[in-house]
């Protein structure tokens, strides 16, 4: 069965509109993307949707009460809330450096959570 799906690529803020034509679940054509990441994105959205998660982790006794963090790679979309819940349970002590691993293998995804700012 032939099908046509519209996506907005979210890999970068340009947000290209991408059209995918499938036939019996198989991708036949991808149009509208400005760069290869767009094709990559829609293929992923169709088979295994993933997101980078950004959030905060508490820091006790630092110049700031929280430090911003992100998953070092995309994790499955349906794991977003589990990831946030795991992060809620963590409390760090300063100093925290940009790039420090805050949590390994979050929710069994194999992805680490890293700090995205410095807190002294």
């Amino acid at each position: 069965m032939a099908d046509k799906k519209e996506f907005v690529c979210i890999r970068c803020p340009l947000g290209c509109g991408i059209t995918v034509e499938t036939s019996d679940g198989e991708i036949k054509s991808i149009t509208g993307n400005t760069c290869p990441r767009g094709a990559d994105y829609v293929t992923g959205e169709l088979t295994d949707p993933r997101r980078t998660v950004t959030s905060l982790v508490r820091v006790r006794g630092g110049e700031m009460p929280v430090v911003s963090v992100k998953t070092a790679a995309d994790i499955p979309k349906d794991k977003i809330f589990d990831c946030i819940r795991e992060l809620k349970g963590i409390e760090l002590s300063p100093p925290v450096h940009m790039g420090d691993v805050i949590l390994e293998d979050v929710c069994g995804t194999g992805v680490n959570v890293v700090a995205t700012a410095d807190v002294r």
Binding site: V8, C9, I10, R11, C12, P13, L14, G15, G17, G32, R51, T52, V53, T54, S55, L56, R58, M64, P65, V66, S68, K70, K77, I80, F81, I84, M98, T116, A117, D118
Partner: protein, 424 residues
């Protein structure tokens, strides 16, 4: 104190401008930042999506800012924190920068050139023309963003967002992740003012409804917000009776747009562009005051920080050229006319003699256009005709003009203007 170059603002624009000026050979320069850290608004933008075009990787706001802070440090650029510029005036070609700092008090820097990079601020309660009480629980989205992301505090549990600008969309997701229930986002216009990716990633992903052509017509609650009433609006943005819906909530976030931070530009008396709220600049990003350049959100509100850095770097290079006597005297400026669907352009004029081999012209459109084209014409000749599937007011557009093309039309006759318009 004397300086060759003073850069006002230590956000991504100020930092990129400083780095470019130093790389072009300006030794005697300083960045003045009123906050206690560099990086500007990016410090509170903990979400990712920054810098794909500059660094070919997706960074969060603090990480993107970090790259430029490191670069400035590596170049030995002096940045003064907790230092606010309170006045700016010109005396002949000397710019008098009045500065306030806790250690040194009030002092003056006499600068040969200045780069304005003060960023923007939120429109305060702009769209909120609602009679009645002003209970607690009403915040601008950016204020809420600072509470949540810098202080780790939540402004409320049940939220309605008015306005679908990017900060509102990003905060809808942020508060959802933090455990709040975001009931809906209401947008007065029939389209969103935010980036498409933010609608997908911040609303659709979490099933948060976006109600276009809707506004808040009433707020209930005396001490604290208890509910808001949302209604549909007609083409003149007037609420349509009978469409009201009361939504229980304890928090109303306002995301009603940003305006350039231009007190200093005004005290200097630069000519302003009413369409952007920022100064009018030529191809060199120079204002009508000699040696005063502008870049970033103070010039026009950007949605892509990559464009901010790029624009700022060219302001930095031009300021260096000016200081080194390499920037040609202002000659014949050809005004750029924004018409038929184009709201404004930056720059607002081009001097062919002063421009580089290519010139980037950035602009915004005034409405949604589908299967349209952007057309640039000069002296009766169409220079560019670029087909576009979608043009949206929320997304800044850019076109690149070639010096050779403009020179050719200038030789054929003396062009009065360059026009940029949307063709449907």
């Amino acid at each position: 104190m004397k300086k060759d170059l003073v850069i006002i603002g230590g956000g991504p624009a100020g930092l990129a401008a400083a780095a470019a000026a130093r790389e072009a050979g300006v030794e005697d320069l300083v960045v003045l930042e009123r906050d206690q850290r560099l990086g500007g608004i990016l410090n509170q933008c903990i979400h990712n999506g920054f810098g794909l075009h500059t660094f070919k990787e997706e960074l969060t706001g603090p990480e993107y800012a970090g790259r430029y802070i490191e670069k400035a440090a590596a170049l030995g650029i002096s940045c003064r924190l907790n230092t606010m510029v309170v006045d700016l005036a010109a005396e002949g070609s000397v710019k008098k920068v009045t500065v306030m700092n806790r250690e040194e008090g009030l002092y003056e820097i006499r600068a040969r050139a200045v780069i304005l990079a003060m960023g923007c601020r939120e429109r305060p309660r702009g769209a909120l023309n609602i009679p009645g009480y002003r209970p607690a629980g009403i915040y601008t989205a950016g204020t809420a963003q600072r509470y949540v992301n810098m202080e780790g505090r939540m402004p409320g549990r049940e939220v309605v967002v008015l306005g679908s600008g990017d900060i509102g969309l990003i905060m809808a997701r942020r508060m959802t992740l933090e455990g709040a229930k975001v009931k809906l986002v209401a947008e007065l216009m029939p389209y969103s003012g935010g980036l498409k990716r933010n609608i997908v990633q911040c609303l659709d992903d979490f099933g948060i409804p976006l109600k276009l052509s809707h506004t808040v017509v009433d707020i209930k609650g005396k001490e604290r917000v208890e509910s808001v009433t949302v209604a549909q609006v007609d083409e003149d943005s007037k609420p349509i009776p009978g469409t009201e819906e009361e939504v229980a909530c304890d928090t109303l976030l306002l995301s009603c747009g940003l305006i350039p931070e231009n007190e200093l530009s005004e005290s200097l008396g630069t000519a302003m562009n009413p369409a952007t709220g920022g100064p009018l600049v030529d191809e060199s990003l120079e204002t009508d005051r000699e040696g005063v350049f502008a870049c970033g959100n103070v010039l026009h509100v950007h949605d892509l920080v990559d464009y901010v850095s790029e624009e700022a770097a060219s302001a930095g290079r031009n300021a260096a050229a000016y200081l080194q006597g390499r920037l040609a005297e202002k000659g014949r400026e050809i005004p750029i006319r924004a018409e038929n669907g184009v709201r404004y352009t930056v720059p607002a004029s081009i001097d062919i003699g002063r421009m580089g081999e290519t010139q980037t012209v950035r602009f915004r459109v005034s409405g949604m256009f589908r299967d349209a084209a952007v057309e640039v014409a000069c002296g009766g000749q169409v220079l560019k005709h670029i087909d576009r599937r979608v043009l949206a007011p929320g997304e800044m557009e850019q076109i690149i003009l070639k010096k050779s093309e403009l020179e050719k039309t200038a030789q054929a006759g003396d062009p009065k203007e360059i026009s940029v318009c949307v063709r449907t």
